[in-house]
Symmetry: C4
Subunit: 272 residues, 4 copies
């Protein structure tokens, strides 16, 4: 009977497609958002001064709930250590650890980032079937364009380094280009069309080079867009194509295919 | 006879494809633009001081016209309540209400936004056949990419929250990153490549992290572009593909095709 | 004989594909660039003070050359008035007119823009076959997406007006949002991700709304990109397809077409 | 025997697909990155003051290594002069030259850019098969869109010149638009959506024109994206499409296809 209870809990906690499992996940999401909002509010000085006490109280409660959840997850897992070492297992641990460390060490202000990492838990939402498929598509498209994107990032890095060094020579210390790393920072700000304006060229020649950097940045944004766009098209096309070979079960046949590309068997006519 | 008059009015007011209906809609558009321009002019202090009287006079006239129009729309509708509860029915009401409320309550300055909502009425223009089709295509493409865009917005939100918190720790109060929400605002300004420069990193490590945020923002803009681009292609393709050869059932004929490209049979005339 | 000479001149001046015609066009381009550079240099105060005399002298010479060219174009044209009323005819006239007006009226400083319009003449370069085709493709793609882009620009205009008015209420006069037109300017600066930072939200709620505007601007840039990208693909595909019906000479058949879509005749097999 | 040793060295130095060649290239990459980091560190004043001595020492060692490498490359080349005149031959020479010039001439501060050009050497990484294919695809796509991009850049240049001159007249000297070149710089900053904010329009009419420039810039970024996106699709498709069925000549088989999708015949093994 204990085993059956554990099994039931497992389904509630780890599955998202039963009503109870869905309710559990939705509750969890609410608590995650709440805890993130608490972290944010605590960082605002005027609020911290007024409601610091209450925020810390709610924080304690939510951490308690998360701790209980973590314990339950470990308890119902068939292989507890595998869960604990998994990505979500580590994220779950990280979302309660800062609180306990903060109990023992004062000035644990820096743990705020770890507490914010709780946000990663909302990616559990991708267990809901609809989003799983979509996020898998996007991830697949990004993975497929990995090599092309690497080449692109390398070319961009080289470009900003060379342009940055050039501007360091042209503009120099007195115009805010105090060192090459600083100038590379400027080149990135400019090439990505962010353009803070905290460092901006003052000399005529510097402005001319800047114009070049801007036009290059404006034009080459077409490259990642083209790469990722092509891969999204490919992934979506393949996803639409649900034809399966009746002989060898291979998938991913073209719309106009008459024969299986894997085993050469005749495919049934395309129903689409 | 009264009934016939009402029917005629209905066609003028609600249809856009008769000459009278078109004339009515064009008049209306002119009044809408005029009323928006009045709201804008009234908000400019130097103009308000000089011409406030005249602006309020014109405003009263235009509201009168809109009120008359609203009354007529309710009068000629076959199901008045259905019209009043429809999107455009509510927008029509909202475009006259602020004026009447302003008569009774002083300091109705805040109603300006509601008055600006009149602008939504220009979307009536989409009744003109040409734009209906185009806006439907775009809406369809956006609807189809809804799930993928949701995943994208969630990932971006998580990213800016984590990067924002990180920068809050690195830069801190003294460099303008006064709280986590503030830092998230900065992260959004940077990731979307807007880059006001009102908050900008001052430390070297902060600038390094900023560079990462910028490059990420520059690269991932490819994702929504790829998603929407793919869906626009799909929707446009499907729109082209509604003609079928009555002889061989081949699809995908061009708009200007008279004969089937596959078997040479005569195609029925294009209905579009 | 006079007639033959005129014919020869016509080919040199109006055609770009003979050696003499090409040489003529290249010379012209050089003079156009030179005259634009002169206009630019004259606008720089330090240069105007030092070399104003020389610049005006060169300007006179170049205008003389352009005047001669204009006279020749009118002279050799078969239908002089048709040339004079054509787009390039008007641009040619505009490129010499400011000089002559400046002789009679002092303070013709404002004619500088008209002088800069000379730059439009460089589009004659599109006569060179290679660029003609490419620019026709791009123009065709833009024309095809005209209706969709109009819908998009209307939606964006409505968006910036509503967001602008909202921010005018939220931020108000004291934070730089002095009027609705001003706030709309801010909304455009933000939505297009330009982000000067000359007007930036100061209140928390204003920053929240700004974040929304930025994310919307970042996401919807995907729409024009998708539209134009699709049309460029279509135009390029059609351009690649040079199959002509042997019966009715219709063009633009699909790759997999067996029969002419215009007259139903059998097409020769695709050689591609 | 000497010849055999030379041959072996050649394979290590110039080939990347043997274990020894790969190790050589990886070592080289590390030294290149190290030397770039040294250049960067030396440009930071606080570091130069403290560790200038050490940096120059490491610099000398690395230049020695690079000199040795250059000598070896010349030595093992079958046609030394051809290597020396090649792109990478020149880059290799440029990466050691500044040091030797600096020995004879003082104040060789300006040589910093040439030293940074060493970074170009990391493109040797494209010898690794995976990246070669990807970078070739991207280069091919860019080459194919050359003519269209030229037309686009010309149109953009004309646009910024005309808009820049217009703004020079509207805003004038007192609002930072001190000359036409300056105003063109502003127009580029705005059109590319960089938006530093160092020069920003102050007058109402100037802000109206600026809004136009921004919206144009926001919309036409779709054009290069569409161009490059189309070409990337074409290049990727062609890369996929090199397999032909020996039985029915059908093309367009997937990479993992073993049998023809049109006739079911066995395909020859994929050579890629």
């Amino acid at each position: 009977m204990m085993h059956k209870f554990k099994e039931k809990l497992f389904i509630i906690i780890f599955e998202a497609n039963t009503p109870a499992g869905k309710a559990f996940d939705v509750c969890l999401l609410i608590f995650i958002f709440l805890s993130i909002i608490l972290v944010m509010l605590e960082s605002v000085q005027s609020i911290r001064v007024l409601y610091g006490e209450q925020i810390r109280f709610l924080e304690t409660i939510i951490t308690g709930i998360f701790s209980l959840e973590y314990a339950l997850r470990v308890y119902v897992s068939h292989r507890p250590f595998r869960y604990m070492r998994s990505f979500f297992g580590l994220v779950d641990l990280l979302s309660i650890l800062p609180f306990y460390i903060g109990l023992f060490f004062m000035g644990s202000h820096n743990l705020i980032v770890i507490r914010v990492l709780r946000l990663l838990r909302i990616f559990r939402i991708f267990k809901f079937t609809r989003y799983t498929r979509e996020s898998n598509h996007l991830l697949q498209a990004l993975l497929n364009s990995r090599a092309k994107l690497t080449v692109f990032v390398m070319a961009v890095s080289t470009l900003v380094t060379i342009f940055g060094s050039l501007m360091y020579l042209i503009e120099g210390d007195e115009n805010g280009f105090t060192s090459i790393p600083q100038s590379i920072y400027w080149a990135i700000v400019t090439l990505t069309t962010v353009g803070y304006g905290d460092i901006a060229p003052q000399t005529n020649f510097g402005r001319f080079i800047s114009s070049l950097v801007m036009i290059v940045g404006y034009a080459i944004i077409a490259i990642p867009t083209g790469i990722v766009g092509y891969e999204i098209t490919q992934v979506s096309k393949n996803a639409m194509n649900t034809r399966v070979c009746p002989n060898c079960m291979a998938e991913g046949h073209d719309f106009n295919a008459n024969f299986c590309k894997a085993c050469g068997a005749k495919l049934p006519a395309n129903q689409l």
